[in-house]
Symmetry: C3
Subunit: 340 residues, 3 copies
């Protein structure tokens, strides 16, 4: 899906603002990995363990750090951070499906909604009372924008996105299909065995430069708001409970489940399918590994894990029997230590 876009290396060097060592006029029509790139493609070296692939790559140019330029005889784009420059290159070749400029005639836009210039509203979109949408923002087919939502500039909502009433979203935000922002937090008061609904009166505030994956859900707060700060990146099928605060520039990988009232620090990484129990605080720069449960507050930066690694099920069954005896096993050990 690169739609035959192409650039000369000279153009790419200029667009990415990095130095070219080589042929300015070399035509680049796509991107590839060091190992699989074809002639006419641009690649990059970021992880030094792939240095030995430099000599054999078929790519027409490589983005490399200054210190590796000498190791490569072909066209080089020299970058302090080749992976970041490569990210820039992906933007040059991206050709996403675009919603047509303007409001599709099948969209339902409330008279009171304020649409800024250069907005694209797809087929069957519903925009309710009092909504404000910033310049250059695109909303895909059948998305639903509830009463009073504020959606910033340069936003990109794919199709079937839902924003419940009152949600506010910053600028440069991407939201993928099927995401639901602002549904009711899960709160009930127990009354003689029945669950009485706590109506959720807060909302959701999302900062700038946030990306939210397909099928992700972020609940509105009970009284105060749920908050996603600037630069947070959230993968698919993540659940964020009511009244959570996710600190700026944190990354939350797919299928993670965050219970209510969790405060996650800045620059954290929650690994895939990880979780956090409710009413806890996680410090800045914490990284939680895949499928680990944060079972209490974490006060210091660092790597954290729970669970066990995989093993043959036969071995595992023997070990989990022992796991269930672990406290008594330890006591038996203590007994022996006393005797010895």
């Amino acid at each position: 899906m690169t739609d035959n876009k192409s650039y000369t290396l000279g153009e790419i060097a200029e667009l990415l603002n990095i130095k070219l060592v080589g042929d300015q006029l070399c035509e680049i029509h796509g991107l590839g990995t060091l190992k699989y790139a074809a002639p006419g493609q641009l690649t990059f070296l970021s992880n030094p363990s792939y240095i030995n692939q430099l000599s054999s790559t078929k790519a027409s140019a490589v983005i490399v750090e200054e210190k590796y330029v000498n190791l490569y005889s072909g066209n080089a784009l020299v970058s302090e951070n080749p992976y970041v420059s490569f990210a820039g290159a992906t933007a040059l070749f991206a050709t996403p499906s675009k919603v047509e400029l303007g409001v599709h005639n099948s969209a339902h836009v409330h008279d009171s909604a304020q649409l800024a210039e250069n907005v694209s509203i797809g087929p069957n979109v519903v925009i309710e009372e009092g909504v404000c949408i910033g310049v250059n923002t695109t909303i895909g087919a059948a998305s639903f924008i509830g009463k009073g939502v504020i959606l910033g500039d340069n936003g990109c909502l794919y199709n079937n996105v839902t924003l419940y009433h009152g949600v506010t979203i910053g600028r440069d935000v991407i939201i993928h299909s099927g995401a639901v922002i602002g549904a009711d937090g899960f709160g009930f008061a127990s009354d003689r065995g029945k669950s009485i609904k706590i109506h959720q009166l807060g909302s959701v505030e999302i900062g700038d430069d946030v990306e939210i994956g397909a099928g992700t859900t972020i609940d509105r707060g009970a009284i105060d708001n749920t908050v996603i700060e600037h630069g947070v990146k959230i993968d698919n099928q993540v659940q964020i409970g009511h009244n959570c605060v996710v600190g700026a520039h944190s990354v939350i990988c797919g299928c993670t489940a965050i219970a209510g009232s969790v405060t996650i620090g800045k620059h954290c990484v929650m690994g895939g399918a990880s979780g956090a129990v409710g009413h806890i605080t996680i410090a800045d720069k914490v990284q939680v590994s895949a499928m680990s449960l944060v079972s209490g507050s974490i006060k210091e930066a660092g790597l954290y894990s729970s669970g066990t690694g995989h093993m043959r099920t036969g071995d595992w069954k023997r070990n989990i029997v022992r796991f269930a005896q672990l406290d008594s096993i330890t006591k038996r050990l203590k007994e022996l230590e006393k005797k010895s």
Copy 2:
């Protein structure tokens, strides 16, 4: 999003049917927590560990139990269960986005569908042949109601909800965006390495007073129905497999995965991101902690858990190596015990 609703304390006491000790005419225009409530807001004391916040709260009134009234000098609403009364108060201040009364002109409603009085059908809703919808029920934009669905009174479906053909739903049911009820259960017969589809001929029956979260999926039964009994509350992104029965008033927290043919008792709580393997029975009043797997039937009420707590990844790596040796470690201990 409180839309400037306001009530006098006298009105609130009457609406919640609880006693007021204090100023009948005090104006309340919102709700807050003990710690953060502002003047003009109502709060509550439910957890006794917050008693010391009573003296410093800025709220204009507090819902408290009789026994704590003396500890508070301001306006008090006296309740046997302050949290339940607070739940009632949230209902007074809730202002959800409402679908307009009547059938939106872009909705596709089959001629044979029966819509009771006072029904609200949003834009682009599809209602197929033979559907029956009860009084006061609201269906949000782009929701899909398949052939023969029966949907009870006072229901509230948000937008993009899917009910496959033949699903039946009781009264006072709330279903959030992106939920899918009645998709095919996951059943295949293995035929020389290929999976042959078992068409799912059952349906899904949902009782009264059930709430279903955003992105939750409940599969139709293979032959008999999948059943969700009265009063069950299901959070976001829960998956309930075919032929499960979830007992009345049970609570299933977000991202829980229930395999097929699981019977969950009444008044159970499945913690967030918990799971249950297929073809098991869980007794009434079982509570499963977050991210725990129920790996077999549970016959007695109580709390159950699996997994491990989180720890520094460095420590964790050393411990999981030992976990993988746990059976042999235990045998070594046994050897020593024999010798000693």
Copy 3:
């Protein structure tokens, strides 16, 4: 929802191509289990542990293996694989909600899209530029088919399915509501604490005879494609990261989370809510148990597990304390062994 379909046993034997021992004219109007089937229903014996139910079943006929025919006095359909034959029988009685033939007048189909014969396009479907749709394919209400998608013959997409631009899908594929195929993979380059988007230039290729559950998400590749091979069956709410390859005829149960660049072999089974970390390879015929994490490559076929079984939370708390000490406990054991 069997819509009063009925067949004679003779017809069923012919349609399933198996032998009938009994009354050709016996009327069958539905299916049931051995235990609960009513007169007029057909059932099957697949698991030998249910043999003792043969004598008491009220079903009008049973699908059995040749060797068990003598144990049953009623009408028998004799099959080498009764469960596979039963799967065939479910197809006879299935009556799914059908989209009407042709293109619904509210659908938005781009002029350049190519629709083969006998296609059914539901209300509010959006079909973008350059899409090709094969014969007999059905697309449910409000589904979105992005630019350049190729969708094979005999496909069945339920409502609210999203296919991002450029996705290709084989023949005989079923996709349930809320599934999102081809959203951006989760890739960012870290630039001084900020996450710079790697635009995802690859796509998703799905083979023939694949089924994809409700709410499942399969991300497009970063450079190369994400690939789902022929015959793969994927349950609800599964997440498959960018650049994964899922081998032919593998089965992925509900809520499984597969990180990016994972290669899963052929004929594998990923149990419910299982997971795999990124950049690993899993051999053919591997089976992973429920809620287990594959934490590294698996080179040999077999059963694998991680985690622990459930236990009373009180016991569990004592044991996880010991788990956190497991390395030191093992060292203490080693000390004792030296002394003894």
